[in-house]
């Protein structure tokens, strides 16, 4: 019913769009100009990933490799919520916006008056949404534009709040939580549209990205990851994959029967935007179910990088990284846009650290594949990516059959990485000074046992059990690495006891920051990776580090509050992680380091 009506809506939106474009042209230009301009102001942090290119790089340089060792806590703030805290605050002018997981509280704090609460927003949501959130009730934060705060709530309500008062300006339902669709990701605003995706790959929810008018919440386009071409918003002749037209019915042909309708490919990661190319970028997640033998075919376009026209939604290019996924390697991780020297030329690249353990460098204008290399040597499910343009398998992973999970009811052992991926949603950073990418990674392998599963709307549709443990011979379950994306090589690697589940921050001061699951905020030298500072926050960190300037002083801020996938194993003690015991077992020892609780910790240098 819902799908039928949105299909009709889509057709209407496409017909109307030329008119909309003409009449709102003026508003678009000014709105876009504002946010683009605001991003270049280093004292603010106006969007969750700092800027449209997702570099998470700040030109603030008061805090340097020389003085960061003196960093101290300036102030703290409790969110009052116990569950996993992902994302980071925003700073616009003298106001900081702090969000929390379900019930999705948002606070506006007055930086001029010691963080006094200017307003608090707490929506009333049906608690029945809680159990359909696969891995804790996380939310990766709000977006800002045109004096409004946009938040995609757990129950898939997209809400626009007045940034000054917290009053609801408009709200719209984007999907149906009774079928397992939930909101966890941060929206992004370009021009006069706010873009948002959906979570629910473990419930067979068909993924989409939609554009809503920032003015009134009207849906302007919706592009599905799977289904007929008109739902995908693709042109069979003009939309390309690795330089070739995708052809008609590209998705339908890659599924058996109607399976695409419950095929997943959800879109819960970060969005990016290139104003020059006028393209937005994002990835789609795992095909549902986790039992691969139940869904023959490439399952397009799950596990895919999309480049779309932000005005019309039409896809310019797509690239499927893991066709017919057998391991839950969602392709949703952030796309980082950076111009880099490759072969003596400056290339507009897109760099993506996929769950599947490969770091991809593509030409973001054409979708051409330039580099694809493992960013953790432990990765074994594929020996590499086929880079031979003449091959029919060009761009596809070269699979190691030993680690295929195609046979159901068999416990397939020793697969690296685990379903968590070599990296999950925790975003990497890029420094144009060092020309290196700073990547928080997981160093975890798994046993994977797929089995038959039936679909019931709103019920888990998983079809596999897993056990996770560190790779053989490793004591550490994570690494924080520096990566050269022009060659696909690790420059340095700092081992971490646990997965690094916190977004990185790179700064002009030559310091890179990240958090750890035990709760440390760490600062390392951008050139060498040498640790320069650590501070233990009240709980494990799965949030992203940010920086801002207020009254001439540079601050570093991070949300702590352990949870998410890592928190599932938190309560259970573990006897021996190397024995390959129960799933998420590797994280259980976290119990000895940290406990629950959402807190923002803000750091600064002492006054001289």
């Amino acid at each position: 019913m819902r799908r039928g009506s949105s299909g009709f809506w889509l057709a209407a939106a496409v017909m109307l769009s030329p008119v909309l474009l003409t009449t709102t042209a003026v508003a678009q230009t000014s709105a876009n100009g504002d946010l683009t301009k605001m991003q270049s102001n280093a004292s603010e942090w106006v969007m969750p990933t700092k800027s449209y290119d997702n570099q998470r790089y700040s030109t603030l340089d008061q805090i340097t490799a020389q003085n960061v060792g003196k960093l101290q806590v300036a102030w703290t703030f409790s969110t009052g919520v116990l569950r996993g805290h992902e994302g980071s605050p925003l700073v616009i002018g003298n106001i900081m916006y702090v969000h929390a997981p379900f019930p999705n509280t948002v606070y506006a704090l007055d930086l001029d008056h010691d963080g006094k609460i200017l307003w608090k927003y707490e929506p009333k949501q049906d608690p029945n949404v809680i159990p359909v959130m696969c891995c804790d009730t996380v939310n990766r934060g709000p977006a800002y534009a045109d004096g409004k705060i946009f938040l995609h709530q757990a129950d898939t309500t997209l809400v626009a709040l007045d940034a000054k008062t917290g009053k609801v300006d408009w709200s719209v339902k984007t999907d149906d939580p009774s079928k397992g669709a939930t909101g966890t990701s941060a929206p992004m605003v370009v021009k006069d549209k706010v873009y948002v995706g959906v979570s629910g790959g473990e419930f067979g929810v068909r993924g989409w990205v939609a554009a809503y008018s920032t003015k009134d919440g009207k849906e302007l386009w919706r592009a599905y990851s799977e289904g007929p071409d008109k739902d995908l918003l693709v042109d069979p002749q003009k939309t390309t994959s690795l330089g070739k037209p995708i052809g008609a019915d590209s998705s339908l042909k890659s599924w058996q029967g109607d399976q695409w309708k419950i095929g997943g490919g959800d879109t819960w990661g970060w969005l990016a935007y290139d104003p020059k190319a006028n393209l937005i970028y994002y990835g789609s997640g795992n095909p549902s179910t986790w039992n691969p033998s139940q869904r023959p075919g490439d399952n397009k376009w799950s596990m895919t990088i999309f480049a779309r026209d932000p005005d019309t939604g039409m896809a310019k290019w797509v690239y499927q990284m893991t066709p017919h996924d057998e391991w839950d390697y969602d392709g949703v991780n952030e796309m980082i846009l950076a111009d880099q020297e490759i072969g003596g030329k400056t290339v507009p690249t897109l760099v993506h650290f996929d769950r599947n353990g490969f770091g991809y460098t593509l030409n973001r204008e054409t979708g051409e594949l330039l580099v694809a290399e493992k960013y953790d040597p432990a990765v074994n499910w594929a020996t590499g990516i086929n880079m031979d343009k003449g091959s029919k398998d060009y761009g596809r992973p070269i699979l190691d059959k030993k680690y295929s999970t195609e046979t159901p009811d068999v416990n397939h052992q020793g697969i690296c990485p685990a379903a968590l991926g070599t990296k999950d949603e925790q975003p990497a950073a890029y420094s144009p000074d060092t020309k290196l990418f700073y990547v928080p990674t997981n160093h975890v392998c798994m046993d994977y046992e797929p089995f038959r599963v039936s679909y019931t709307a709103g019920q888990p549709y998983v079809g596999a059990t897993l056990s996770m443990y560190p790779p053989q011979g490793s004591q550490n379950m994570g690494n924080f690495i520096a990566w050269d994306a022009t060659t696909g090589k690790i420059k340095w690697s700092d081992p971490e006891a646990f997965s690094v589940w916190s977004g990185a921050l790179a700064t002009k001061g030559g310091v890179v920051f990240y958090g750890t699951l035990e709760g440390y905020l760490k600062a390392v030298d951008a050139k060498t990776g040498k640790e320069l500072y650590r501070f233990k926050t009240p709980s494990g960190i799965i949030g992203n580090v940010m920086t801002y300037e207020h009254n001439g002083q540079q601050y570093i801020a991070v949300l702590s509050g352990v949870g998410g996938w890592a928190g599932i194993g938190l309560a259970a003690g573990l006897t021996d992680p190397h024995a390959g015991l129960g799933a998420v077992g590797g994280y259980a020892a976290l119990n000895n380091y940290t406990a629950l609780g959402g807190t923002l910790t803000v750091f600064k240098l002492p006054s001289s």
Partner: protein, 174 residues
């Protein structure tokens, strides 16, 4: 309270061993000792589903399937091996206190504990074939965990799949 009862159980086992007589462990459904099998599916003296572990640690088919289906459908909240998570209780503890009927009713009907301090919600699984077709197996596995008869992780050895199981599974899953 739970620690106390566990301690008591330990003492009881120690006593029974020293006395050289079999002493049954009690859980929420009573004595779990398997007395009767219908095509590899064991029952206790009250007719409740139960586990049967061989001397070599080999588990019955249903205990094994229970581990698999628990891990697929319940682990997301209740943690690995029934041990609980940051937001859902340990079922290894719960099954020491609740009987089969209560277990069945909670799984089928769900449970909510929502207040200013917490947001705990167990969904109703009554319409979920992936759970309800295996409810007895999941119960048997957790009962074995609660009674300490099965340790953490995937049981190393298990009985072969009974024919009756395949038939029942096909009928239930459709």
């Amino acid at each position: 309270m739970q620690r106390m009862s566990r301690a008591v159980a330990c003492v009881a086992i120690a006593l029974s061993l020293s006395a050289g007589i079999a002493y049954a462990i009690e859980d929420g459904a009573g004595d779990p000792t398997a007395v009767k099998s219908e095509d590899g599916k064991w029952q206790d003296k009250n007719g409740n589903p139960t586990f049967k572990i061989g001397d070599d640690g080999k588990v019955d088919w249903y205990t094994y399937v229970g581990f698999i289906r628990y891990s697929a459908n319940c682990l997301q909240c209740h943690g690995p091996d029934g041990l609980g998570s940051t937001y859902a209780p340990s079922l290894v503890d719960s099954l020491k206190h609740i009987d089969y009927t209560t277990f069945y009713a909670t799984v089928a009907g769900g449970k909510q504990n929502v207040s200013a301090a917490q947001n705990l919600v167990m969904p109703a699984e009554g319409a979920n074939k992936n759970v309800m077709c295996y409810i007895d197996a999941i119960y048997v596995y957790l009962r074995a965990r609660a009674d300490g008869a099965v340790g953490r992780g995937r049981p190393a050895k298990h009985d072969d799949k009974p024919e009756a199981y395949t038939k029942a599974e096909n009928e239930c899953m459709g």
